[in-house]
C-alpha cells in the first residue's frame, strides 16, 4: 500500500472543469458515425408514402404497379403490421400505417424497400391510393366542441387549476390575448436508422432517438414480438430538442427488414423530416392579471389552448407545464387557470425544448410588462416585488423546498452593463447588406423576461435511470441507456468517474436496451437522473472495494475525494491504485423523489425541482422595413452547480438562439393543415448573422438539495424566457403590442 503524501498534485479533472468531449475528435474529423452513415452488406433503402391530405378516408390502396418495378423488394401497408397497428409516447392512439382515416397531411400510408433510394421513391409514387377527401378541422378553439376526428375525442386533456380565492380582485387589472406559432426542432441530422433482422427471428434497430426503451416497447407491440427480441441501439444523433422523443420510422424499418430478411436503411429528407416528427404546440392564451397599487400580484386568470394536432404524443404533459407555470417565477396568492390540449387535423405536436413553459412564458411576461407600465413601475422592480423564493407555494399548492434564487437571477442580470451603440457597418444594421433604407428609422429597444422550468418528469411518473460501472483490473467502463444528443452527457460520465474513482480513462459502452432504461434525454433530466445513476454506480464500486479491503486488511477505509483513508489516518490509498488487479461490476437504479398526480383542481406535489432564468435582449429595429437585429442577449441562470463551464455555456447559447428563432424567425406555416414551408429555404433558422453575442451575467450556484453534485438541469431555461425578452425589446423600440410570435416584418412595418 502506498501512502499519499502532500506533494501529490490534485488531478485537474472531475466535476466543475471544462473537460472536452470524448467524441470531439471523431466529430471534427468527420469520422463520427451518425445514424445516416450506417451501412450494411446487401442493405435495402426504405421509403415512406405519406398522405397529401390532412383529413381523408382511405378507400383503396393499389400496390401492384409499385411491386412490379425492378429492384423493389417490399411494399407494405396497414394490413402488413404484424402486431397492433398503433403506437404513441404517452398513449397509443396513432396508427403505424393509416388503415382507414387520414388525420394529418404527412401521415404514413405505405412503406417500400428497394435496392436504391431513387427506386424506392419511384415505387412510392407508383402506389395508387384512393382517398375520399374530408374537410379538415384546423381551428384549435373550435376543436373543443367540434365533431370528434379521433375515436378518443378532440380534447386530449382538460386541466383546471384553482388556487386561493378566485373571487379576489386587484386594484389594477390587465387583460391580454396571445398566440404562439408552430416551431420546429429542426435538428440538423434528419431521422435515419437501420433495422437488421437477426437469426433468432428478432430485430436489431439502430436509430437516432431520445429514449431507447420507450421505442423498444412501442416497436415490440407493433411487431407482436417479445420485448427482448427487439434490440434497440443508439446510432449517432444529429441533435434532437424533443423531436426524437416519439417513434417515427422505427416500426417501418423493422417491418421492411423482417419482411425482406435484409438490412434496411432509411433517411428522411428535410421535407419528410418536417412531416415525420412532432412540433412545438401552437398556443392561444388569454390572461387577466390583478395587481395591487403596492405592486404585488393579487390574482391571475388564464385560459390556454394548445393545438396537439392529430395525435396525442406528449400533449397532456406539455399542457400541464403550460398551466402549472403559467404564472411565471412569481408568487401569486390566487389563481384560476384552465387549459385544453386539443386534437385537430394539423401536424401532431409534442416535445420541444421548453415543453409548454415556452408558450405561457411568452404571454405572461408580456402581461408582467403591461402591469408594471400600468403601475408606473420598472419592469424588473415589479418582478422583484413578486419573485418566488424557497419556501413559497406555487399555484398547484406545492411548496418549493429546493433552491429558488429568482431575486439573485433578476438582480445580477439587471446590474449587467448594456452594450454600446451599433456601428455604421451595414452588417450591423437590421437586414444586413440587403437592406433598402438609409437606416434613419432604426430604433433601439431593451426587453427583460424571466422564467421557471420544472426539471424531470412530473405528475407521479416513475422516473428512473440505470447505470453500470464495470472495473476490469483498474480499467473502467460505464454503461447506460442514456442518449447522447450532443448535450455532452458523455463528457459528464468521464467527469463523474474522475470525481469519484480518480481514473482518467473511461470507456463509455454503447447505449442500448441490454441495460435498463435511462428514461428520455429531455426535461433537463439526464445530468440529474443518469448522471446520478453513474455517480451511484461508481460509489457502489467504491463500497465493494472498501468491503474487500476491510476483509483483507482489517482496516475500514472511507472515501475522501478520490482517496481511501483509514479512520485513524494511518493509511491512505487512491481509489485508482486500490482498483488495480480487481474486478467489479455494479449496476444501480437512480430515482428522484416521488411526485403525485394533480387532483381535480390542479393541486398536488406534482413536480420535483425548479430552475429559473432571466434574459435581457437589446435590439435594433428598422421600423420602415420591419426588420430586427438582435444586438445582444444577456442572461442569468439558476444552475445549482456548474458541472462543466464550457458545456454549460454551450447549452445556454444554443438555447437562446432557439428562443430568438421563435421570437422573430421560425414558424411552420399551415394551410388547411398542410405545411407550406417544409424546408430550410422557407423555414427560417437563425444563422450566425442573426445570432448575437450572448453575455452570461451570472450563473447562480446554490446547490440543489438531493440533486447529484447539487446541479440543476440547464438545457431548457435558456430557450424559455429568451423569446419574451426579444419581443419585449421590440415592443420597447416600436411601442407596438406584438401579441404573437414569431413577429413578422409586416407586424412591425404595418403594425
Amino acid at each position: 500500500m502506498s501512502v499519499v503524501d502532500d506533494t501529490v498534485e490534485a488531478i485537474p479533472s472531475g466535476i466543475g472543469v471544462s473537460a472536452v468531449r470524448p467524441d470531439g475528435k471523431e466529430k471534427v474529423k468527420g469520422d463520427f458515425i451518425f445514424s445516416s452513415d450506417l451501412s450494411s452488406e446487401g442493405m435495402l433503402w426504405g421509403q415512406t408514402l405519406r398522405s397529401p391530405h390532412s383529413s381523408a378516408r382511405i378507400l383503396n390502396i393499389d400496390i401492384s404497379d409499385a411491386l412490379s418495378i425492378s429492384g423493389v423488394h417490399a411494399v407494405l401497408t396497414a394490413d402488413d403490421v404484424p402486431g397492433e397497428n398503433i403506437f404513441g409516447l404517452e398513449r397509443a392512439d396513432q396508427p403505424v400505417l393509416a388503415n382507414d382515416f387520414i388525420r394529418y397531411a404527412g401521415e404514413p400510408v405505405a412503406i417500400v424497400a428497394a435496392d436504391h433510394p431513387e427506386i424506392a421513391r419511384k415505387a412510392t409514387d407508383a402506389i395508387k391510393v384512393e382517398y375520399e377527401i374530408l374537410s379538415p378541422l384546423v381551428d384549435s378553439s373550435a376543436a373543443i366542441t367540434a365533431k370528434a376526428i379521433h375515436p378518443e375525442g378532440n380534447v386530449i386533456r382538460y386541466l383546471n387549476i384553482v388556487h386561493g380565492d378566485t373571487e379576489a380582485v386587484g386594484d389594477v387589472i390587465v387583460e391580454g390575448e396571445y398566440e404562439v406559432g408552430m416551431q420546429d426542432q429542426a435538428f440538423m441530422g434528419t431521422e435515419s436508422g437501420m433495422a437488421i433482422p437477426s437469426p433468432d427471428g428478432g430485430i436489431d434497430l439502430q436509430i437516432s432517438t431520445q429514449w431507447l426503451h420507450s421505442d423498444q416497447e412501442q416497436v415490440a407491440t407493433a411487431l407482436n414480438m417479445p420485448i427482448e427480441m427487439v434490440r434497440v441501439t443508439l446510432a449517432g444523433v444529429g441533435g434532437a430538442f424533443g423531436g426524437r422523443e416519439d417513434v417515427s420510422m422505427h416500426v417501418h424499418l423493422c417491418m421492411l427488414a423482417l419482411y425482406t430478411g435484409k438490412p434496411v436503411k432509411m433517411i428522411y429528407d428535410r421535407n419528410e423530416s418536417f412531416l415525420g416528427h412532432v412540433h412545438r404546440h401552437p398556443a392561444r392564451i388569454w390572461y387577466r392579471h390583478h395587481a395591487s397599487f403596492g405592486g404585488r400580484l393579487v390574482k391571475v386568470e388564464a385560459k390556454v389552448i394548445l393545438d396537439g394536432g392529430a395525435y396525442a404524443s406528449t400533449t397532456s404533459a406539455v399542457l400541464a407545464n403550460a398551466c402549472c407555470f403559467s404564472i411565471g417565477p412569481y408568487s401569486v396568492p390566487n389563481a384560476s387557470v384552465e387549459g385544453w390540449g386539443v386534437r385537430t387535423n394539423n401536424p401532431p405536436c409534442g416535445a420541444m425544448r421548453g415543453f409548454g413553459n415556452v408558450q405561457t412564458c411568452f404571454a405572461v411576461e408580456a402581461q408582467m410588462d403591461k402591469i408594471a407600465k400600468e403601475l408606473n413601475l420598472d419592469p424588473v422592480e415589479f418582478r422583484l416585488n413578486n419573485a418566488l423564493k424557497s419556501g413559497d407555494t406555487i399555484i398547484t399548492g406545492q411548496e418549493i423546498t429546493g433552491t429558488a434564487p429568482v431575486r439573485e437571477v433578476l438582480m445580477s442580470l439587471a446590474n449587467h452593463p448594456l452594450p454600446g451603440p451599433s456601428s455604421n457597418n451595414l452588417l450591423e444594421l437590421p437586414g444586413g447588406t440587403g437592406r433598402t433604407t438609409d437606416g434613419s428609422h432604426v430604433k433601439r429597444g431593451v426587453g427583460f423576461a424571466a422564467s421557471i422550468k420544472n426539471l424531470m418528469f412530473s405528475e407521479g411518473f416513475d422516473d428512473f435511470s440505470e447505470a453500470r460501472c464495470i472495473v476490469d483490473d483498474g480499467f473502467i467502463a460505464i454503461q447506460t441507456a442514456c442518449v447522447e444528443v450532443g448535450q455532452g452527457f458523455v463528457t459528464l460520465v468521464q467527469q463523474i468517474v474522475q470525481e469519484i474513482l480518480g481514473i482518467e480513462k473511461v470507456e463509455i459502452l454503447p447505449a442500448d436496451t441490454s441495460i435498463g432504461s435511462a428514461g428520455s434525454t429531455s426535461a433537463s433530466r439526464q445530468s440529474w437522473m443518469s448522471g446520478g445513476a453513474v455517480m451511484k454506480a461508481c460509489e457502489a464500486v467504491v463500497n465493494s472495494l472498501i468491503s474487500d479491503l476491510s476483509n483483507e486488511q482489517g482496516v475500514s477505509f472511507e472515501r475522501i475525494g478520490t482517496v481511501l483513508v483509514a479512520p485513524d489516518g494511518s493509511a491512505s490509498i487512491p481509489v485508482s491504485d486500490a482498483l488495480r488487479g480487481r474486478n467489479y461490476d455494479e449496476t444501480v437504479v437512480h430515482r428522484h423523489a416521488p411526485t403525485v398526480p394533480l387532483d381535480e383542481v390542479g393541486q398536488g406535489d406534482a413536480h420535483v425541482s425548479f430552475a429559473f432564468a432571466a434574459h435581457r435582449a437589446v435590439v435594433d429595429v428598422d421600423e420602415e422595413l420591419g426588420l430586427v437585429r438582435v444586438v445582444e442577449i444577456a442572461t442569468s441562470q439558476d444552475v445549482g452547480r456548474v458541472l462543466n463551464p464550457v458545456q454549460a455555456r454551450g447549452q445556454i447559447e444554443g438555447g437562446i438562439a432557439q428562443g430568438l428563432g421563435l421570437a422573430i424567425l421560425e414558424e411552420i406555416i399551415l394551410q388547411d393543415g398542410k405545411i407550406q414551408n417544409a424546408n430550410f429555404t422557407d423555414y427560417l433558422l437563425p444563422t450566425a448573422m442573426d445570432t448575437p453575442t450572448i453575455e452570461i451575467a451570472a450563473l447562480i450556484e446554490e446547490p440543489e438539495p438531493n440533486a447529484p453534485f447539487g446541479a440543476k438541469g440547464i438545457g431548457e431555461p435558456p430557450v424559455i424566457s429568451s423569446t419574451p425578452a426579444v419581443v419585449a425589446a421590440i415592443r420597447d423600440a416600436t411601442g407596438l403590442d406584438l401579441n404573437r410570435v414569431p413577429i413578422r416584418p409586416e407586424d412591425i412595418a404595418l403594425g
Binding site: V28, K29, S70, F187, V237, G239, G650, E653
Partner: protein
C-alpha cells in the same frame, strides 16, 4: 436501375485519389456518391437543398454544397472533403480549437463548418468577429448558437498567425 435510370460510368478525383464510379444513376448528387458509393460519410446530408452547408466540399479549391452538384458533372474536378483536412490521428488548429472551445455539440454541422472555415482562413487569416459570422452564415448549426464556433475561429486564427499548434496540414 431500370432503363430510364440508365447507369453511367465516370471517374471522380476525391482527396487526391481517382475513383471509377460505375452502376451509378445519372441523377445522383455528388453528396450521395461521396457518402454511399465512396464511403466518405463525413460530408453531411442535413437539407440537401444548398441552405445549410453541412455537405460543404471544395471543388478545384472553391467552396461548394455537394448536394447541389451532380456527381457525374464533377468528373475532372479536384474534390476535397472533410476527410482531407487532417491525416490519421492529427488535427488542424481549427479542429483542435473546435474541441477546446465547445464548438462541437451534436457535431452534424461540424464537418461542413470546418471545410468552410479552413477555406475562409486561407483568404482572410485574421478576420474580425463580424467577418467570421458572415463567413459561416451559410452553415446552419442548431445546437451551439454559434458563439463557441466564432470563438474557435478566433483562437485558430491567432494560433495560425503566431505559428502555434503546428499540425495544420491544410495550410
Amino acid at each position: 436501375m431500370d432503363k430510364d435510370n440508365s447507369s453511367i460510368e465516370y471517374s471522380l478525383s476525391v482527396n487526391g485519389n481517382s475513383h471509377e464510379i460505375s452502376k451509378s444513376w445519372l441523377g445522383e448528387s455528388l453528396l450521395y456518391v461521396l457518402r454511399e458509393e465512396l464511403g466518405l460519410y463525413g460530408s453531411k446530408n442535413a437539407c440537401e437543398q444548398g441552405e445549410c452547408g453541412s455537405c460543404s466540399v471544395l471543388m478545384d479549391g472553391v467552396l461548394a454544397c455537394s448536394c447541389l452538384v451532380l456527381a457525374a458533372n464533377a468528373t475532372g474536378r479536384n474534390i476535397e472533403t472533410i476527410e482531407s483536412l487532417s491525416d490519421d490521428d492529427s488535427l488542424t488548429v481549427v479542429q483542435e480549437a473546435f474541441i477546446e472551445t465547445g464548438a462541437v455539440q451534436c457535431g452534424f454541422c461540424t464537418p461542413g463548418l470546418l471545410v468552410t472555415i479552413h477555406d475562409f482562413l486561407e483568404t482572410n487569416p485574421e478576420p474580425n468577429v463580424l467577418e467570421i459570422r458572415e463567413a459561416i452564415s451559410g452553415n446552419l448549426c442548431r445546437c451551439t448558437g454559434y458563439g463557441r464556433i466564432v470563438e474557435a475561429v478566433q483562437i485558430a486564427s491567432k494560433q495560425k498567425s503566431t505559428g502555434q499548434g503546428g499540425d495544420d496540414v491544410s495550410s
